[in-house]
Symmetry: C2
Subunit: 249 residues, 2 copies
């Protein structure tokens, strides 16, 4: 009688605290061994193995066997997106794992979401890309404009290589902390990779949090700006972040 997707069996998989912790850890984008997953979830190795098998069997994870290690990772960006969406709803209804702490402030500022950046900085980047006409709406969602293509070309990002993959180039992902979109898709992943490679930010060990240097944040926002670096900043593009509160540890 009932039809449609089986949401219950999927949600029950995510509903166990141990599995949810594993998935949340994997949202950082790095593959983890079974033992690391066990440590993340605070359970024994056998328990973690069982959970990982279930998630793997459900198609939410993929595994890479290397020697005696098994590296588990999320099966794809759609899994990450669904997890982020659930996080957004959890925030909205007031469910937190703990009280908002110092780590949470850093997470809101910038974090990894599977393989791209999320948080305040990432939503600002997205807004800049749209404002400057690099991203435009298309019937299938967002699309990279010729202007944006040239802009990223100037930044030595090989758009053609990204397009050759089956994965979507641009996709808007609703940020759970900012409730505004940030950029996902292969381009979002490439931008995150570039930000790390060029030292604009660094990942906090064992966390999804990302710490930007002052210059790094400016550099990233400048990459989303209208012109390649060196353009005079007349204040028009600087946007509103200057009005933020100084109460930040």
């Amino acid at each position: 009688m009932k039809n449609g997707p089986n949401i219950a069996s999927l949600a029950s998989l995510l509903g166990d605290p141990a599995r949810a912790n594993i998935l949340a850890a994997l949202l950082g984008g790095k593959a983890l061994t079974a033992g690391e997953c066990a440590a993340e979830a605070g359970i024994s190795a056998p328990a973690a193995s069982g959970h990982l098998a279930k998630l793997l069997n459900a198609g939410l994870l993929v595994v890479l066997v290397q020697g005696r290690h098994r590296y588990y990772n999320l099966a794809g960006p759609d899994v990450a997106a669904a997890l982020e969406t659930l996080m957004g709803l959890a925030v909205r209804v007031g469910l937190r794992r703990t009280r908002p702490g110092p780590r949470e402030a850093a997470m809101r500022k910038a974090r990894f979401c599977y393989d791209h950046l999320a948080g305040e900085v990432a939503t600002q980047v997205f807004a800049q890309l749209v404002t400057n006409g690099h991203l435009v709406a298309s019937p299938q969602g967002y699309r990279l404009s010729p202007l944006g293509r040239a802009r990223f070309h100037a930044e030595k990002i090989d758009i053609e290589a990204l397009e050759s993959k089956s994965r979507t180039l641009c996709r808007a992902c609703l940020d759970w902390s900012e409730r505004q979109p940030h950029l996902a898709g292969s381009l979002g992943a490439a931008i995150a990779q570039v930000a790390i490679e060029r030292g604009w930010c660094r990942r906090e060990a064992g966390s999804r949090a990302v710490h930007f240097s002052g210059g790094g944040e400016r550099a990233l926002l400048a990459m989303a700006g209208p012109e390649p670096v060196g353009a005079p900043e007349t204040g028009g593009a600087a946007s509103n972040s200057s009005t933020h509160d100084p109460r930040r540890a």
Copy 2:
């Protein structure tokens, strides 16, 4: 040690088959009494009462007490969006409640998603709106262009009234069956309401499925088209009367 949203307690709420069935039924957008929820989920009234209390306590539902009836409904569009996202992932990993059946074909064609339309027709409408420049990308997501504003004005849709509400006017929601965006937000809801009022489509009893007439589908797509069609108006109650609206603002 852990921080961030508590995804596990939220997902465990959705992970029970009875609760998932209730929520899936409520995705149709109509408020249901406790007894109707019990029938939908195939459980006894006491069991349903307990589940509804949990969902209510978690902030996923709202209740409207009218006499001896209690009308339950989703707490808001974000809940519906999260459910749809989970459905999309469930489809992607191959979890279905049953084999794809005749009902499923109708659901893919058109269905209600809380208070707006989803499915093949809805994604086509969204594509048309973007193609014709009625919807454009903005830093905060999608925005109604002046052109689109005039277009809906010609269709007797009071955009200003929608904007006066706190709810977002336009929002792209990823369709789980089409994997392309459709229009959510208060404008999406208004369009769905208009489509019903003008007889372009009718809801299947006790289901989210929506059946379009041939002319109705053309009329809806024409509304998203570039120019007001010269067809005679359907006359009568053009202004949307908010007579009985079980949903809150």
